[in-house]
């Protein structure tokens, strides 16, 4: 589907130099004198590399007609994560490079949306937050009263998250899987 670059928005998939990229940021910009531009940051869906690209705002851009399908996360190996479309039982894989940090916070059975283009998966739409159990954490050090102080804790997927000092083993916390940051207690 063709559109003016001026209509691009975060989340769109575009062709750029014959490969597929996802728009991470799109911001209108017009110089004092001269033609308007769309400043974008786009991410290559194979290499996960980000670049900044300035389109002419009236330039025609191919936006991919992408569908998003809810899938269940099955497991991961050293290179890929594996997902299943629950309606068709079809299985798909996506490379860890594409999924990024989010893969560290996925629990088996977790549901999320996957973008498909011509029935091939492009990438996942990371959940806004995931709930995870704390399996290891140091006790709070007495007398440490610095506001906002954090300590490392290990969550059930085996990765370390910085959490506030009052969090204990066995508690459930929420994490933003894209950044790996603690967002709250369940």
């Amino acid at each position: 589907m063709k559109t003016n670059a001026g209509n691009l928005k975060r989340g769109d998939f575009v062709f750029y130099q014959d490969t597929i990229w996802q728009v991470q940021k799109a911001d209108f910009y017009s110089p004092g004198k001269g033609a308007a531009l769309m400043k974008t940051r786009i991410k290559n869906i194979l290499s996960a590399k980000n670049i900044e690209y300035n389109y002419k705002s009236n330039e025609q851009v191919d936006v991919l007609d992408v569908s998003s399908v809810e899938m269940q996360y099955l497991y991961k190996d050293s290179e890929n994560i594996f997902l299943m479309d629950e309606r068709t039982y079809n299985q798909f894989s996506l490379s860890l490079v594409v999924v990024g940090k989010t893969a560290d916070f996925l629990k088996e059975g977790e549901k999320m949306f996957v973008y498909l283009y011509n029935d091939k998966p492009l990438t996942i739409r990371p959940p806004m937050s995931v709930s995870l159990k704390i399996i290891e954490a140091a006790d709070a050090i007495k007398g440490d009263t610095v506001t906002g102080a954090k300590k490392p804790a290990i969550v059930e997927t085996g990765v370390t998250v910085l959490v506030p000092l009052f969090i204990k083993v066995g508690e459930m916390i929420t994490v933003n899987p894209e950044t790996g940051e603690y967002t709250g207690r369940v």
């Binding site: 209108f28 004198k33 001269g34 033609a35 308007a36 531009l37 900044e52 389109y55 025609q60």
Partner: protein, 336 residues
């Protein structure tokens, strides 16, 4: 669009007020007259890339088109012709088809000022003095996102200067010959992978400037100045002796375009010709066919004094001193 109240922006808004105060103080000390001007006008100066807001005055059967001014230039130059001397406007300006973004609001605050008897390069000194004045009065609070050292304050002691020719050669590998020849320039843009179908020289100029040059500016911690533009990009600037270069500057702070200035064109015949060209380009670009300010040309016949005019996106200037990355963070009320 919706009305959004953002009381969290109060501290930033207070910085906006501080900068406004200092700007008024600066111009008062330098002897400029502050001009309060209309924002509704029955005619405008045609500019090929600016879309405008159109409205109507109504009284019984009488209907008259009016436009919100995209810049106060048509008023300030009329005043200069009367011999009013150095003057400035600090107030609202309107540009249509510019959606809200980090750097744009369709309704924004413009600082425009004119100084008589100086050219564009002398104006560069005046602008730097203004920036330094604000910086000192606000205790050097403008910080650079580009400087990776502990003291990342922006210094307004000097410019980082490039002529457009130098900048295109250094950062984009485009020679002077290619830059000043439309055909060669478009060919070069194509070889660099830009889409050139139905793109004009001006379109590609802006795109390459934003893609390859602007990200390289402001790394030194000083504001950046680009000067001497191809004449196609300056409808109201005076040309230099060989007729190819417009005496125009644009300046950037920390990589953000904040304002520009040019030695003002005061040859009314040349001005009339460019009005016509810009108006034709407007039609080609499918922009609103507004009433052209013919009175402006008539007034120019009386003689605009030799002067240089500068326009500064005031909100953007405040963004620098408030250290915010988006223009809406300066406002208590936004229409988003």
């Amino acid at each position: 669009m919706k009305i959004k109240t953002s009381i969290n922006n109060l501290n930033n808004y207070k910085i906006y007020l501080r900068v406004e105060e200092e700007v008024n103080k600066f111009f008062k000390r330098k002897g400029y007259l502050k001009a309060d001007l209309p924002v509704l006008s029955p005619a405008l100066i045609p500019e090929s890339y600016l879309e405008i807001f159109e409205t109507k005055f109504r009284y019984f059967n009488r209907k008259e088109k009016l436009y919100l001014t995209p810049s106060p230039e048509l008023f300030l130059k009329r005043l200069l012709i009367t011999g009013i001397g150095n003057c400035y406007y600090l107030g609202k300006a309107f540009r249509n088809s510019e959606p809200n973004s980090s750097w744009h609001l369709p309704e924004f605050t413009m600082l425009e000022f004119y100084k008589v008897g100086i050219n564009y390069l002398e104006m560069a000194d005046e602008v730097l003095e203004l920036l330094r004045f604000i910086s000192v009065r606000l205790s050097f609070r403008a910080k650079s996102r580009n400087l990776k050292k502990n003291d990342n304050r922006i210094s307004f002691e000097r410019w980082e200067k490039y002529s457009i020719t130098q900048a295109f050669l250094k950062f984009a590998g485009i020679t002077e010959e290619e830059l000043f020849n439309q055909k060669l320039f478009i060919k070069k843009a194509k070889s660099k992978g830009y889409k050139v179908d139905s793109a004009s020289y001006e379109d590609l100029f802006s795109q390459i400037l934003a893609q390859e040059i602007e990200p390289r500016l402001g790394k030194s911690g000083y504001p950046s100045l680009l000067y001497d533009y191809p004449y196609e990009l300056s409808s109201l600037a005076k040309l230099n002796k060989n007729g190819k270069i417009a005496e125009r500057c644009e300046f950037y702070i920390d990589g953000l375009e904040v304002g520009g200035f040019c030695t003002e064109l005061n040859d009314y015949k040349e001005q009339e010709k460019r009005f016509f060209q810009e108006s034709e380009k407007r039609k080609k670009n499918n922009l609103i066919n507004h009433t052209i300010d013919k009175g402006f040309i008539k007034t120019l016949k009386y003689g605009l004094p030799d002067c240089t005019g500068a326009g500064i996106g005031f909100d953007r200037l405040v963004m620098i001193f408030a250290n915010v990355d988006s223009i809406d963070k300066l406002k208590l009320i936004n229409i988003l």
